[in-house]
């Protein structure tokens, strides 16, 4: 059996249609994710419109350096993921696995950086509740949203890292051929996690800097 016929599954007539099916499925899932993150960002918008001064004062204390490094890491990982997908479509097995490995390292780098940032945040006491360092109570709303939004984003990224790791291993062991439609799904999901961060970055890190 050739690599191509091994990649085609029921009920698809060929690999092109199968890829389109996976693409459509993942976009339907992502449309629901847009609403999920959209609800959180709407909550942020409501609280910020009610307490504008407190949000500016609270956001001053997020770690801009960590946030910017993480944005660069994720943007770069999206590029390596795109190259992995294009290499897979061109049936370049080693290039696909190599790019997936770099993507994985960048994703793990993001989580490590986020961990260091969380450590610093906690050291300074920026967790809503007793002993919060800022006097104005609504500043805690900003920090509550910071923890929820970045936490849920990190969970999404962790899921992406896990899936990318498993798929890269399956390609490596030749259980799946690289031109399999799986790449289409994981690449689109990975980019979505990146787009969420692109939106969170100005909302959480670029506020109150003047």
């Amino acid at each position: 059996m050739s690599d191509v016929s091994a990649a085609v599954r029921e009920p698809w007539p060929d690999l092109t249609v199968q890829r389109q099916g996976v693409g459509l499925g993942i976009w339907v899932f992502l449309a629901s994710e847009v609403l999920f993150f959209g609800a959180l960002i709407t909550a942020y918008g409501i609280y910020r419109s009610i307490h504008p001064a407190a949000f500016l004062a609270a956001a001053k204390h997020t770690e801009l350096v960590y946030g910017t490094i993480n944005t660069v890491l994720l943007l770069t990982s999206s590029v390596t993921m795109t190259v992995a997908l294009r290499a897979a479509e061109a049936r370049l097995r080693r290039a696909t696995i190599g790019c997936l490995a770099v993507t994985l390292v960048l994703g793990v780098g993001f989580l490590l950086c986020k961990g260091l940032e969380y450590r610093d945040d906690l050291r300074e006491g920026f967790f809503p509740g007793a002993g919060f360092p800022l006097a104005d109570p609504p500043t805690q709303l900003f920090w509550m949203l910071y923890w929820i939004m970045t936490g849920i984003h990190a969970i999404h990224l962790s899921a992406g890292i896990l899936v990318v790791g498993v798929v890269a291993m399956l390609f490596w062991r030749r259980v799946l051929p690289v031109q399999d439609s799986t790449m289409e799904g994981i690449a689109t999901y990975w980019h979505f996690v990146d787009t969420v961060w692109i939106l969170l970055f100005p909302l959480l890190y670029l506020v109150g800097r003047i």
Partner: protein, 100 residues
Amino acid sequence: MSEREQRHRPTVWQLAREPVLVWAALLVLLAISAVLAHAPIAPFNAAVNLVIAGVMIGLLAVFLMNLRMASALVRLVAASGLFWLVFMVALTFTDYLSRP
């Protein structure tokens, strides 16, 4: 693999050219965004940074998520997520911003 297929296989660098250009554009936009956050253009800082974020997401969706080459059906589904989002945000703020 046939000789013909081998000959027409693109190299990794050919595949990476467009994504790397998009990456460079995204980094430039990120830098502009970080600089403008410190610029004394209040009250427009938030609006400017959100517009830049929108452009970055657009670049990513069109070139890296490949919506440029996607079928009409996929584009429609991608747009539907934004469509419902606009409804949610518009209706929510119609309520909150009109409260006394």
